[in-house]
Subunit: 119 residues, 2 copies
């Protein structure tokens, strides 16, 4: 059964320990990713761009780094941030399967309503 | 410029206040959505299925309800949960644009490496 297969896939993915969803749940962190999408930036650049303290920005970058979405490298006194190595492929796949399941559900409901219309 | 357009879209979306990413960042909450994808369930059913206390399950359902991903209705003493009305369309679109931006970035890097190979 299709719904069962989708569910199995989802349950399997659910056990993945590292979770990028939490990292992108924050609008500032999504903004940091978007910015790094155009060019690499130092923590200071990012703090300026988002009008935040260095300490605040470091925390956000740390969360992104822990999720594997950002890599940082220190050269001299400057820590530069860049995207990667992790992508959001699994997260996109989870959402796609969820939407697929929702659609299947709506289809079944519609078919049921259609069947019972004459009763 | 394509990258600029993508960025504008992203910044626009960033201001959306209600955030479903945070709701699906928790593996138990993703599990609840998956389960509700197969059938509606009471809070008690869900608490049993996830081996949690009623109080713990109520909190998770509340987060999903606040995000619009789950609707609950009380009939007699039983509160039934079902999916909707919100879908994850915007979240899927954000991830898709992010991946697109990453790809564009890798392409530019590759082109640069190709150009400088002979130097």
């Amino acid at each position: 059964m299709a719904a069962g297969n989708i569910l199995n896939h989802m349950v399997q993915y659910r056990t993945t320990p590292d979770d990028a969803f939490a990292a992108v749940a924050d609008p500032t962190r999504r903004g940091i990713l978007e910015r790094l999408g155009t060019r690499d930036a130092s923590i200071t650049d990012l703090a300026d761009a988002f009008d935040m303290t260095l300490t605040g920005m470091k925390k956000h970058v740390q969360v992104l780094e822990d999720a594997g979405l950002v890599t940082t490298a220190k050269v001299g006194r400057v820590r530069t941030c860049r995207l990667g190595p992790r992508r959001l492929t699994k997260e996109a796949a989870w959402i796609a399967r969820y939407e697929e399941m929702l659609n299947a559900r709506y289809d079944r409901l519609e078919a049921f309503l259609e069947r019972t219309k004459g009763d």
